[in-house]
Symmetry: C2
């Protein structure tokens, strides 16, 4: 039995496909768990005031003299002259509290920029804030599209697993219907992987690539559910913590 | 231990993403199992001489007066004035033997047209010729990219399951390495679904849509592995049966 007017949840596997989805009035959950969206959640959990996601290194550097912490990576490596890389552990430091951060990353920012302008809201998802973001989505009376950043516009497993976890939470909540093959597939993969996400990703090419960068501890942390209650939401191009704003 | 120079197998979930893959020198397996690529395999199994895949209805109609059987569908329904729709059962008729067929379909033809011109070869895959096509791919010394036609450029489950089945066959054959997240995901989904493909697709939106068209028997047949030894290969824009050519 299907309830009339029930909202839907869909999953988009690549920023290059988001224009095929009806984003009008929907909440878009941007997912880039290794490591941009995980680090964003950590920053808000540790008291960051706001985060501006930016496409280019040049743009980001300009925020340095405005008193921002500047952060980011290219191909997984830190950028010379930046305050922070993209490791979640960097965003746990004392200087994060009350800070404004300008962040540039390879895949995450590009995903945000690809979202059609008629979307109602953009939020940030990671395993770290899985329950917080899922509960937030369930409370909203909106269609949900989980946008996986992927790797250079290709499908990747780690973002898909989080998408599947969110779909699974929304299914249990019963306020959204799952009527999209990508969402069905993502949920199956999550259910297969959930008991050992790290081991499952041993088979992922991106994970293998990241392995070469010696960030295994980052990856393990990014795969830990519910370390943060942050709900990063985009307001006029700037990410703020919905939770803190509403308290 | 990885063997140097081993060929790779990748999976592309949408024609809209194929330009992200390095197709140069690769064999591209076009997959649109409900129902175009299944019907193509059936036609060759029943003695068709050649099949021309075409984008438009208008183009296809012109082949009628050249003595071709004209076949195809739009949104799953037969086109007025055509000899055949897109049901695999239609391609089992006596008139198929020795025939030339012009075929237009919603998704499959568009997938073929999206393939970069530097690909070495285009072949056609379905569950019906799963072992035949997998053995053919294993014999070739080429990288393999399985291109899922999807549904209007979106990911779909049924094509992904066949992609996963092909990946699984190539893994067992050990001549190809699987170093692509899409291939890993497709194989997991196939292994989850393989004991009851039809039931698994109950959760697929495309299958639900097709259900409305009352083609359940078509779907069940299209999900039956190894009904055909056909190896449809593209030669100068025309599909022919490699098997028959080489015998």
């Amino acid at each position: 039995m299907q309830i009339i007017n029930q909202k839907t949840v869909e999953v988009c596997f690549s920023p290059a496909l988001i224009n095929l989805f009806d984003c009008k009035g929907a909440t878009i959950v941007v997912v880039d768990i290794l490591r941009a969206t995980s680090s964003i959640c950590v920053a808000f959990e540790h008291g960051a005031e706001s985060i501006i996601p930016l496409a280019s290194i040049e743009e980001t550097i300009k925020y340095k003299e405005k008193g921002y912490l500047i952060a980011g990576e290219r191909n997984g490596e830190m950028i010379e002259g930046f305050d922070l890389g993209n490791s979640p552990f960097g965003f746990m430091e004392n200087r994060i509290r009350g800070s404004k951060i300008a962040l540039t990353t390879t895949n995450g920012t590009q995903a945000i920029n690809a979202i059609p302008k008629d979307a109602a809201e953009i939020v940030i998802g990671s395993f770290l804030n899985l329950n917080a973001i899922s509960n937030y989505l369930a409370e909203q009376d909106r269609n949900v599209i989980v946008l996986c950043s992927g790797f250079k516009n290709k499908f990747n497993l780690e973002d898909t697993l989080l998408a599947g976890a969110i779909v699974n939470r929304l299914r249990l909540n019963q306020k959204h219907t799952i009527d999209c093959d990508s969402a069905v597939a993502a949920e199956y993969l999550y259910l297969k992987a959930k008991d050992n996400l790290f081991e499952f990703l041993e088979n992922s090419s991106h994970r293998k690539r990241l392995h070469k960068l010696h960030i295994e501890s980052d990856i393990k942390y990014c795969l830990s559910p519910n370390q943060s209650k942050a709900i990063p939401v985009m307001r006029d191009g700037v990410l703020v913590n919905y939770k803190e704003k509403s308290e």
